[in-house]
């Protein structure tokens, strides 16, 4: 809140790019996510070993030059497994959120624009879904569909779209109060054109900011489900699964669980720093 007050009282308006470069948090966030994406796209370049290569002669070795994060109870190289997990976990950030985003934006825009009975029903559905703790509902859906990555994405999407739709609806209604929306109607534009070409581009900013935060949450949620045995399944290298695998050896081989956790924290931090930065930059000024 206070940040807007400060920036709006400034006499000259620096460009958004200048503002972005002036924010160390935003820059660090971008850097982390760029590196994470690189690791996700080509883990083979950075990982010294095959993540699933079992070496019974090198079981639970402490960190060394040959194995920077040590080896696990099957002698697999922990560093390579953490690196390869970037692919799955970064994928989570996208796949667990993007369908919810699209469904939420379309539903939210339509009920916000047309209101009426559909909007009333929508309101009740939102109330009902919000009444469940997020994780409880996701876990219940996974229980029905069966554990696994794809089912986890379906479960998160089934619950998560509501949050996007609610945000989108409120923004569309706020935008409809502006003259340009009425002008479009007077000009005889079709509803579709008004909603998707005029209202949506103006209303989408908060939704996109929420999306960034939601990506961070998706990684936390996805790895939590992996840890609980409901998401990615072993021997898939996924951070939550890796932490769960190391759990039994945590007093003797602490590095097995510690390192994947650091990867989660870093990536989650990256997304939320970008989200915060975007929120500061894109918030309407003046």
């Amino acid at each position: 809140m206070s940040d807007t007050a400060v920036s709006s009282s400034a006499p000259s308006r620096p460009s958004r790019l200048q503002l972005a470069l002036g924010k160390p948090g935003f820059l660090i966030g971008c850097l982390i996510i760029a590196l994470s994406t690189l690791l996700a796209l080509m883990p083979n370049v950075f990982a010294p070993y095959d993540p699933n290569y079992i070496d019974y002669l090198a079981i639970r070795q402490p960190p060394s030059w040959a194995h920077p994060f040590g080896t696990d109870s099957l002698g697999r190289d922990s560093f390579s497994r953490v690196i390869h997990a970037y692919r799955v976990n970064m994928q989570m950030a996208i796949l667990a959120t993007v369908f919810a985003l699209v469904i939420g934006v379309v539903v939210g825009a339509l009920v916000g624009y047309y209101r009426g009975i559909a909007d009333m029903i929508f309101g009740r559905v939102v109330d009902a879904i919000i009444t469940f703790p997020f994780l409880v509902l996701v876990i219940a859906v996974v229980a029905v569909l069966g554990p696994g990555l794809i089912n986890m994405y379906i479960a998160i999407t089934m619950v998560g779209w509501v949050y996007y739709a609610r945000l989108m609806r409120a923004e569309i209604i706020a935008q409809m109060g502006n003259d340009y929306s009425d002008a479009g109607m007077v000009m005889g534009y079709s509803d579709r054109r008004i909603i998707f070409r005029h209202l949506l581009p103006n209303a989408i900013t908060p939704v996109l900011i929420y999306w960034m935060t939601d990506m961070a949450l998706a990684i936390l949620l996805g790895s939590s489900l992996g840890y609980l045995g409901l998401g990615a399944q072993p021997p898939q290298a996924e951070w939550g699964v890796l932490i769960a695998e190391g759990r039994n050896f945590i007093t003797t081989a602490w590095w097995l669980s510690l390192m994947p956790g650091i990867a989660i924290v870093l990536t989650g931090l990256g997304f939320s720093l970008i989200g915060d930065g975007l929120a500061d930059l894109l918030r309407p000024r003046g």
């Binding site: 809140m1 206070s2 007050a5 009740r124 559905v125 109330d127 009902a128 879904i129 919000i130 009444t131 469940f132 703790p133 997020f134 994780l135 409880v136 509902l137 876990i139 219940a140 859906v141 996974v142 229980a143 029905v144 961070a216 936390l220 790895s223 939590s224 840890y227 609980l228 045995g229 409901l230 939550g240 932490i243 759990r247 945590i250 007093t251 602490w254 669980s257 510690l258 956790g261 989660i264 924290v265 870093l266 989650g268 931090l269 939320s272 720093l273 915060d276």
Partner: protein
């Protein structure tokens, strides 16, 4: 009188929401692959058992009759029998509920104790280094998965240093406090990160408000200004935020209970899922929904009792 009317209005509004909650749970269980009776009774059930369950659930009836049965059974407190525990689901729920409730309240208390002073320090030093440090630390806290925080605390404070027990619930209030300290602290670290951000901006907003400037101009001591005006207003928004985040809080509790082997509802939910104990899953899902909406209601009442503006709308 106005308050009573307000409560009644709120309760009436909850009815359609809860009907929908029931529909969602009903659909979840009905969409199960395979025979629900078989899923409920387990693989080793006899044909007579299966027939009895089919009859009780009305599986041979049309869907709306089935839903009606489910609804009336639930309203009468009949949530079915747990496969895992071999007892009434409602009994199991009431047996585990105090543990989860204790943990949740404990976690909320700790998170207010952590976030409150930190938010004051950050807000009073706005833009200077203490503010930056506090915000950065809590930002990192927000990026940590609850199970990971729990595991790290468990390893170092319980397993290595042996300051705390590695699991369990204990007997008696003091023992509960001791046994649940690490689980509650785990949830609190996450929750306090959520509150801190809000509390800090709430405090700043109040500090900048005209009535606080007026209080200062009157020459009221800082203690009175902070205590009477700033704290009171910041408290309203914090309680509201906590109330609205109860879903998140419960999600966190669920994971934490698993990490620390606390015998509460969350751990039971996971056990139920791995045992494919559908009546229990159904009952627990409903219980969580009831708990959340109760907290929503209490939050609303609290807010309207502290902030008269709420009562008019």
């Amino acid at each position: 009188m106005a308050t009573l009317q307000y409560i009644l209005k709120r309760l009436t509004l909850m009815i359609p929401t809860f009907l929908l909650v029931m529909v969602i749970i009903f659909l979840l269980v009905r969409f199960l692959p395979g025979d629900p009776a078989l899923a409920i009774a387990g693989d080793r059930a006899s044909d007579a058992d299966l027939a009895a369950i089919r009859d009780r659930l009305g599986l041979n009836e049309p869907a709306w009759v089935q839903f009606w049965l489910f609804l009336t059974n639930t309203v009468q407190g009949d949530l079915g029998t747990s496969i895992l525990m071999r007892t009434e689901v409602l009994d199991v729920v009431f047996q585990r509920l105090p543990t989860t409730a204790f943990l949740t309240v404990y976690a909320v208390g700790l998170s207010v104790l952590i976030a409150g002073p930190m938010a004051f320090v950050a807000a009073l030093n706005r833009g200077r280094w203490p503010d930056t440090v506090i915000r950065t630390v809590f930002q990192v806290g927000l990026s940590m998965p609850v199970f990971y925080i729990g595991l790290v605390l468990l390893t170092f404070l319980a397993a290595q240093l042996r300051w705390f027990p590695v699991g369990g619930y204990g007997e008696g209030f003091v023992s509960h406090l001791y046994h649940l300290f690490l689980p509650a602290f785990t949830v609190a670290l996450y929750t306090s990160a959520i509150i801190l951000r809000n509390l800090r901006s709430a405090i700043i907003e109040v500090l900048d408000a005209e009535y606080v400037q007026f209080a200062r101009a009157k020459g009221l001591p800082n203690r009175v200004i902070l205590g009477r005006h700033v704290l009171r207003n910041a408290l309203i928004s914090t309680v509201t935020l906590l109330g609205l985040s109860i879903g998140n809080l419960m999600s966190g509790t669920l994971v934490t209970e698993t990490v620390f082997a606390v015998p509460g509802l969350g751990r039971l939910m996971l056990e139920a899922i791995f045992a494919r104990d559908y009546p229990l899953i159904q009952g627990l899902t409903l219980t969580f929904a009831v708990l959340v909406s109760l907290v929503f209601l209490l939050t609303d009442l609290f807010q309207s009792s502290l902030d008269p503006r709420m009562r008019l709308s």
